[in-house]
C-alpha cells in the first residue's frame, strides 16, 4: 500500500475532502470545505489555499494557516479562528485556479488521448507540507466514489472474482495524469491565467483530433481554447473543423487575429472560409492580411465554390524548363512547409504557360545535369477554372492523380493547382 498515515506520499481524493467540516483551534466548527485553490505554475499544481464556507461567508484559507499534519484530511484544523482570518488573501491574477469551479465535474481536454473527458474526481498527493494535484479520475470508479458506493461495489466485484471472472473490466481505474490535462477555463478566467501546458503539446496533437475536440466542447470553451493555441495550430485546426464551427470561431476573433490565422492556411481553404462569411466581415479580415496573402485569397474568391477555380490553391512550385534536375531538387528541399501543400508534383512553366509536369519520382531518378524539359510529362491532364467540381473529382479518380493543374482556357496559363485532399469530399460523397 502506498498510503502511510502521517507519513509522506499520501494520495487522497478531492471528493473525500469536499464538504468536510473544518475546525477552529478550539475545536468548534468553522465551516465546510468548499473548494481548493491551486497554482498551475508547475507540472503538478500545488494547493495554495482551501476555501471554507459557513452560513455567513466563504474564505480562502492559505495552506499555512491549516494544521497540515491533519491533512490526510480526516480532520482539518485551522491555526487561527476562522473569523480572524482576512478575506480575499489570494491574488487571483496569478496562475491560480479553483478545482471545483473549473475542473471537478467539468469537461477538460486530455492531451495524451486527444479527447474531451469529464472529470469525475481529482486525485491529490500530500507530500511533506505540500499538497499537489496529480491526476484526474475519469473512470466509473470516480462516479461510484462520489455516490458513496465504491466500497460496496468493490466487495461485490471481489465476490464475483472468486467465481473466476477475473477480467471484470467495468472496474478499471481510469486516471489521466495532470501532465496531460488541459482545463478549458471560462472566459472570465483564461486571460488572467498562464497555463503551464506547453504550446508544443498542442503542436503535437493531430489537427484533425484537435478539431474533433473543439467540436465537442461547449461554445464558451471552444472560444477559450482557440484563444489559447498558437495561430499556426489554429489555422490547421480550423481547416479541419466543420464549416459552421470554423465560421463561429473566426467571427469571434479580432480581425487581426482572424487574418493571422488565415495567413497560415492554404489560400484555397482561406478563400472557402471567407466566402462563407458576411461580405463586410470577410473584407475586414482580408484588409488585415499581409498584401501577398490577401491578393491570393481575393483572386480565389472570384471563383465559385463548386468549380475547379474554387478548389485550387495558388501556392505551388513551378520551374523554368531549363532548370537542371539537381537545382530543382534543391529548391524543393527549401520549400516552406506551411506555404506549399505538396511537392510530389512540380510544374514546368514558360511565360506563365504550363508546358509540362514533373513528379518527385522522376526528379529523384533522373541524372542531375538534365534539364526539366527533357524529363517532363509533356501532356499533363489539366482543367479550366470553371470546370465543375464533380468532374474534377472524377478526373482524380480516373487517372489516380495527386494534383491537377488548372489552366485558363485561351492562353493556357497556369492559374493554380488542385490537390487530392481538396476533392476527397466529392469522391466520398457518392457512397454516403
Amino acid at each position: 500500500m502506498e498510503t502511510r498515515i502521517n507519513g509522506y506520499n499520501a494520495p487522497f481524493f478531492f471528493s473525500q475532502i469536499l464538504g468536510k467540516i473544518a475546525f477552529n483551534p478550539d475545536r468548534t466548527p468553522a465551516g465546510r470545505v468548499s473548494d481548493f485553490i491551486v497554482n498551475v505554475g508547475t507540472t503538478y499544481p500545488k494547493v495554495i489555499a482551501i476555501c471554507i464556507k459557513n452560513e455567513k461567508e466563504e474564505k480562502e484559507i492559505p495552506l499555512n494557516q491549516i494544521e497540515i499534519s491533519s491533512l490526510i484530511l480526516d480532520i482539518i484544523i485551522l491555526k487561527e479562528f476562522f473569523d480572524d482570518i482576512p478575506k480575499n488573501s489570494i491574488d487571483f491574477s496569478e496562475s491560480v485556479l479553483t478545482l471545483k469551479k473549473t475542473v471537478y465535474d467539468r469537461q477538460i481536454v486530455d492531451l495524451n488521448g486527444a479527447k474531451v473527458i469529464r472529470v469525475n474526481d481529482v486525485r491529490l498527493l500530500k507530500s511533506g507540507n505540500e499538497i499537489s494535484v496529480t491526476d484526474v479520475d475519469v473512470g466509473y470508479r470516480g462516479i461510484l466514489r462520489r455516490l458513496g458506493l465504491e466500497d460496496v461495489i468493490e466487495k461485490i466485484v471481489n465476490v464475483v472474482k472468486l467465481f473466476g471472472l477475473k477480467n471484470v473490466s467495468l472496474y478499471n481505474q481510469m486516471f489521466v495524469s495532470w501532465e496531460y490535462v488541459h482545463p478549458v477555463l471560462p472566459k472570465s478566467q483564461h486571460d488572467a491565467i498562464k497555463l503551464t501546458v506547453p504550446k508544443e503539446q498542442f503542436n503535437n496533437l493531430n489537427p484533425a483530433d484537435l478539431a474533433d475536440i473543439l467540436e465537442e466542447l461547449d461554445y464558451e470553451q471552444r472560444e477559450s481554447l482557440i484563444n489559447q493555441i498558437p495561430d499556426s495550430v489554429a489555422a490547421k485546426v480550423l481547416s479541419e473543423t466543420d464549416s459552421k464551427t470554423t465560421q463561429e470561431l473566426l467571427v469571434t476573433q479580432k480581425e487581426e487575429r482572424a487574418a493571422d490565422i488565415l495567413e497560415y492556411m492554404a489560400p484555397d481553404k482561406a478563400a472557402d472560409i471567407l466566402g462563407d462569411m458576411q461580405e463586410e466581415k470577410a473584407l475586414g479580415i482580408i484588409k488585415q492580411m499581409e498584401p501577398e496573402d490577401a491578393e491570393a485569397v481575393t483572386e480565389l474568391l472570384e471563383y465559385s465554390d463548386n468549380t475547379a477555380g474554387g478548389l485550387m490553391t495558388t501556392e505551388y512550385i513551378s520551374f523554368n524548363p531549363n532548370t537542371m534536375v539537381v537545382n530543382a531538387i534543391q529548391e524543393l528541399v527549401k520549400a516552406p512547409e506551411e506555404d506549399i501543400e505538396t511537392i510530389y508534383e512540380t510544374f514546368v512553366v514558360e511565360n506563365d504557360k504550363l508546358i509540362g509536369t514533373v513528379n518527385l519520382r522522376q526528379l529523384l531518378i533522373s541524372p542531375g545535369h538534365k534539364s526539366l524539359s527533357d524529363i517532363m510529362n509533356k501532356k499533363p491532364t489539366t482543367v479550366t477554372p470553371d470546370e465543375n467540381a464533380k468532374k474534377v473529382a472524377e478526373l482524380f479518380s480516373k487517372y489516380n492523380l495527386l494534383t491537377l493543374p488548372v489552366v485558363s482556357e485561351g492562353t493556357g496559363n497556369i492559374e493554380g493547382v488542385i490537390t487530392v485532399d481538396d476533392v476527397v469530399e466529392y469522391l466520398t460523397r457518392n457512397w454516403q
Binding site: 479527447k115 473527458i117 469525475n120 462516479i143 455516490l147 461547449d218 464551427t245 466566402g275 472570384e302
Partner: protein, 417 residues
C-alpha cells in the same frame, strides 16, 4: 469583384435549415401513450376536454423555449448542465429514474406498434421484433441528417389523424362551443383525464431531447427568432394532432356510447361509424407515432446518460467509438421488447408505474431547469426575463401539482380496486 460570396440567402432557407428540433420533439410528443390518452378522452367525454389543449400548449411552449434557449446559449446538453451545476448525486438519481421510466415508455411504444399492426392482421410476435431490429439499424447505421429527414417525414404522416377526424364528420359548431365555453365536470374521472392530457404532453425526457437536438444542429443565439418559430410549430403540431384525435373519437365513439381502453380499440371502433378506411388510417397514424417514438426515446435516453457521465455518444459515431452509448441504446430496446413479448405481461401496471416515475421526475427536471436558466454564470445576458419567470414558475407549479395528483391517482385507484 468578389463573386464567391453567397448571394443574400432568403430567411426561408435559413428557417428551413433551422427547422427540425422543435417539430420533431412536438411530434414525438404524440406517442402511443399520448394517442391512447386522447382517444380515451374523446371517447369518454366527447369534445368536453378539448379546452385542456390550450393550457397544455402554453406549458409545452414555455418549457421547450427554455430548453432551446439553454442549448443555443451554452452549447451544453441539459444533462451536461445538470451534472455541472448539481453534481454527481442528483444527476445519478435523475438518470436512474429516467432510464427505468424510459424503458417503460419505450415498452408502451412497442405496445402501440403491436396494437396498430394487429388491426392489419399482423401478430405482435412478428411485428415487434422486426420493428425493433429496424429501429436499431436506423440509429446504428444512420447519421443525424438522414435521421432528421426521416423524422420530419414521420411528422407529416401524423397529420393522417386529420383525415380520420374529417371522415368521422364531426359537428364543427359543437366543437367550437366546447373550446370557447368549456363544459367543466367535477367528477374524479374527468379531473384525472385533464391531468392525463396535460401530463402526457410534457414528458421529462423531451426536455433533454429538445436541448440536445438544438445543439447537434449547431444552432446559435443568432438563429433564436427561427428557433422560436420552430418550437412554436412543434407545439402547434402536438396540439393539432391531439385535437383531431379527440374530435375523431368524440364524433363517433362518444356519440354512440362506446368505451375504449386502448388506442387500438379506437381504430377498431371507428370502422362501423367512419368506414374501414378511417379505422386503418387511425391505426396507421398510431403505428407511425409508435415507431417514431420507439426510435427517439431509447436514443435520447442513451445520449443524455452518456453526456452526463462523460462517455462518447452521438448518432454520428460508430459502435466502436461509442460503446457505452450503443450498449445503453440496445439494452433499452431489448428490455422493452421483452416486456411486450412476454405472454400476459402486466402492461397496465407497467404503464401506471412508468407514469408515476415520470411524475416524480418532471418536477425535479423542471426545477433544475428553472434554476439554471436564471443563473447568470450559465446564461449570461440570456437569463429569463421577469415575465418569463412568472410564466415559467406558474407553469411549473401547476404542472407539479397536476403530476402529483396524476401520480398518486393511479395508486389510489389501484388501492380501491
Amino acid at each position: 469583384m468578389i463573386k464567391k460570396f453567397r448571394p443574400w440567402i432568403g430567411s426561408t432557407i435559413i428557417f428551413l435549415s433551422v427547422l427540425g428540433p422543435g417539430i420533431i420533439t412536438g411530434s414525438v410528443d404524440n406517442d402511443a401513450g399520448g394517442i391512447t390518452t386522447y382517444s380515451v378522452a374523446g371517447a369518454k367525454y366527447g369534445y368536453h376536454l378539448l379546452w385542456t389543449l390550450i393550457p397544455a400548449f402554453i406549458a409545452l411552449f414555455v418549457v421547450q423555449e427554455m430548453n432551446a434557449r439553454m442549448g443555443v446559449v451554452t452549447g451544453k446538453g441539459l444533462a451536461d448542465l445538470i451534472r455541472e451545476s448539481f453534481g454527481v448525486k442528483i444527476t445519478a438519481l435523475i438518470f436512474i429514474a429516467l432510464i427505468i421510466a424510459d424503458i417503460g415508455n419505450t415498452a408502451t411504444e412497442f405496445a402501440g406498434i403491436a396494437g396498430s399492426l394487429q388491426i392489419f392482421g399482423i401478430s405482435k410476435y412478428i411485428s415487434v421484433p422486426i420493428c425493433a431490429v429496424l429501429v436499431w439499424i436506423m440509429v446504428a447505421k444512420g447519421n443525424y441528417k438522414t435521421s432528421e429527414r426521416i423524422f420530419l417525414i414521420f411528422s407529416v404522416f401524423l397529420l393522417s389523424y386529420v383525415v380520420s377526424a374529417i371522415m368521422a364528420k364531426p359537428d364543427w359548431k359543437e366543437i367550437g362551443t366546447a373550446v370557447v365555453r368549456p363544459n367543466l365536470h367535477s367528477d374524479f374521472g374527468y379531473i384525472s383525464m385533464v391531468i392525463g392530457i396535460i401530463g402526457t404532453t410534457i414528458a421529462p425526457w423531451m426536455q433533454f431531447y429538445m436541448q440536445s437536438a438544438v445543439i447537434e444542429k449547431g444552432l446559435r443565439i443568432k438563429h433564436y427568432k427561427f428557433i422560436l418559430i420552430d418550437v412554436l410549430l412543434g407545439c402547434i403540431m402536438t396540439v393539432t394532432v391531439a385535437f383531431f384525435i379527440i374530435v375523431a373519437c368524440g364524433a363517433t365513439l362518444n356519440k354512440n356510447g362506446i368505451v375504449i381502453n386502448e388506442a387500438k380499440d379506437a381504430a377498431i371502433a371507428l370502422r362501423p361509424f367512419a368506414g374501414a378506411f378511417a379505422g386503418q388510417i387511425f391505426a396507421f397514424g398510431l403505428f407511425i407515432a409508435s415507431v417514431f417514438s420507439a426510435i427517439i426515446l431509447p436514443l435520447a435516453t442513451a445520449f443524455y446518460i452518456c453526456e452526463a457521465f462523460g462517455f462518447e455518444a452521438g448518432i454520428d459515431k460508430r459502435v466502436r467509438e461509442a460503446p457505452a452509448f450503443y450498449a445503453l441504446f440496445t439494452a433499452i430496446i431489448f428490455f422493452s421488447v421483452v416486456i411486450i413479448l412476454i405472454p400476459n405481461a402486466p402492461l397496465i401496471a407497467i404503464t401506471i408505474w412508468t407514469q408515476v416515475l415520470n411524475g416524480i421526475l418532471l418536477p425535479v427536471v423542471l426545477i433544475c431547469m428553472m434554476l439554471m436558466v436564471n443563473n447568470k454564470k450559465i446564461m449570461g445576458q440570456y437569463v429569463n426575463s421577469t415575465a418569463g419567470n412568472i410564466v415559467g414558475w406558474a407553469t411549473i407549479s401547476i404542472l407539479i401539482a397536476l403530476t402529483f395528483v396524476l401520480m398518486i391517482e393511479p395508486l389510489i385507484t389501484q388501492f380501491i380496486h
